[in-house]
Amino acid sequence: MAKIFAVTLILIAIGSAIPIIWHIWEPPADISTHGALIDEQMSETMAEAGLSFLAAQFVLAIFVWIFSNRPKGAKIGHFPGGATAMVLAGFLLVGTEVIALGIFGSRAWASVYFQPPAADAMPIQVQAGQFAFYFRYPGPDGKFGPMHPNLINEANLNFFGLDYNESATKDDIVTAEMAIPVNREVHLLMHSKDLGHSFYVPELRIQQDFVPGLDLSVHFTATKIGKYEIVCTQLCGLGHYNMRAYLYVYSQQDFDDWLKKEAALQ
């Protein structure tokens, strides 16, 4: 029984590791400028976590194999060094490991969150609501018109509560899909009209909650043209699973055309 346990345990450990080692399932390729550090951090952590996982399971299995069902008379052995050595080793190994992780991790984190957006970053506003994202581009004047919650009316597609008689608002462009030019920093102003939502684009290595009553913002630069998905990761009600929008990363030219097209539809 004990030997079966040992074998099973080792098989399970190896089985669990294989998909990771063979990269069967892994995050989609990074398309952001800040993502490289995160990926690096991820693989470092994966290595350390994976090794400690395998080591622990193997040693456990081996000890169970060797020391199970020994006769009553069998000598009780003592682990070389005893508890003191073990505690010290644990402290040093795990301590240094986690501190190292923490420090490198905070470097990656800082690269995402501690820099303010560049002055020329392109502002885009996103309005989250049950259960869709809508986006607003400031238009030629580069200014967003003010939002009036009492004017929000999805029946008339007025998702932002805009008053089109206001000068700043007139040229605002509201879209249901998000498009950004490649290699241009985007400053995303996040607003939720009703509940908590979240903005998650795995390829962009970005996840940020919408906090009602607290307007947050993230900034990022996409480096690869393509079509990606924006999904909501904060439980927001029955349609949560279907709260999504598409993100198009265009060349500057295509982006301008797209924006013209959308402007015409207003």
Partner: protein, 250 residues
């Protein structure tokens, strides 16, 4: 003694049958009396407002449904010759209680098709049950938001593809109850709950209110964007009365 006991259910059933039959006759009488009808057309005067196109890109299924027929808002739909669609006409005054309480036959159907509501406006009699069905392969949730003061209770249920129809009814008259789908925020329509006969305009703006007993009434025309209008109409048995309405574009 025993025998009597055995007989009692039979007697009860017989009595019940008689009552039902009688009721049936009565109801037929009522409907026989209501043979008049009101017809007419509703037009929009002036330029129809621009109806924005709907971007359904959040749900690829919906996009596919409208590949060659782009979807637009349906708040104001003007047909050939200025006919105004989706206007509900009902008798706001003068209806005899008997006719008002008559149970209208049939179940109005509210379909979810191509991530839009058909019809956009569903009129029904307070005594009618209505049926919500879905023809889409994506999940919708149906969320009517009645005015809390009317006593109507809001509900919010989703309908996965192929789910059985939802059969519901309203407690009180209300013109009109907005209904929306949260999963597809652009989807929106109205339930118009009235007492007695009603009619809804078609693409040409023409309508018919049938089953109106002879008498004089006030007909109200309701449209979601424009203030409601009323007209006095007198219905005589046999000859259909006409009432035309014209809404002014803002």
């Amino acid at each position: 003694m025993k025998r009597d006991y055995r007989r009692t259910p039979v007697l009860l059933l017989a009595g019940l049958a008689i009552i039902c039959f009688g009721a049936l006759l009565m109801s037929q009488k009522v409907s026989a009396a209501a043979e008049g009808k009101i017809t007419g057309t509703v037009k929009l005067e002036g330029a129809a407002p621009h109806m924005r196109g709907i971007d359904m890109s959040k749900d690829p299924y919906c996009v596919k449904q409208h590949e060659n027929s782009p979807a637009h808002l349906e708040n104001v739909v003007v047909g050939s010759g200025g006919g105004l669609e989706n206007v509900v006409l009902y008798l706001s005054q003068g209806l005899p209680p008997a006719a008002a309480n008559e149970v209208a036959s049939g179940e109005p159907v509210f379909d979810q098709k191509g991530c839009m509501y058909t019809p956009h406006v569903l009129a029904m009699d307070i005594n009618q049950k209505y049926k919500v069905i879905t023809s889409d392969q994506t999940t919708h949730n149906i969320h009517p938001l009645p005015n809390p003061l009317t006593g109507n209770i809001p509900w919010n249920e989703s309908q996965p593809p192929g789910a059985p129809p939802l059969i519901k009814s309203w407690k009180a008259e209300e013109v009109a109850i907005p209904v929306k789908c949260n999963i597809h925020p652009w989807m929106h329509g109205y339930f118009v709950v009235v007492k007695g006969p009603y009619g809804t305009t078609d693409t040409n703006g023409s309508y018919t209110i049938s089953g109106v007993p002879p008498g004089s009434y006030t007909v109200t025309a309701w449209q979601e964007e424009y203030p409601a209008q009323t007209q006095k109409v007198t219905v005589t048995a046999g000859a259909p009365a006409t009432a035309d309405f014209t809404f002014k574009a803002k």
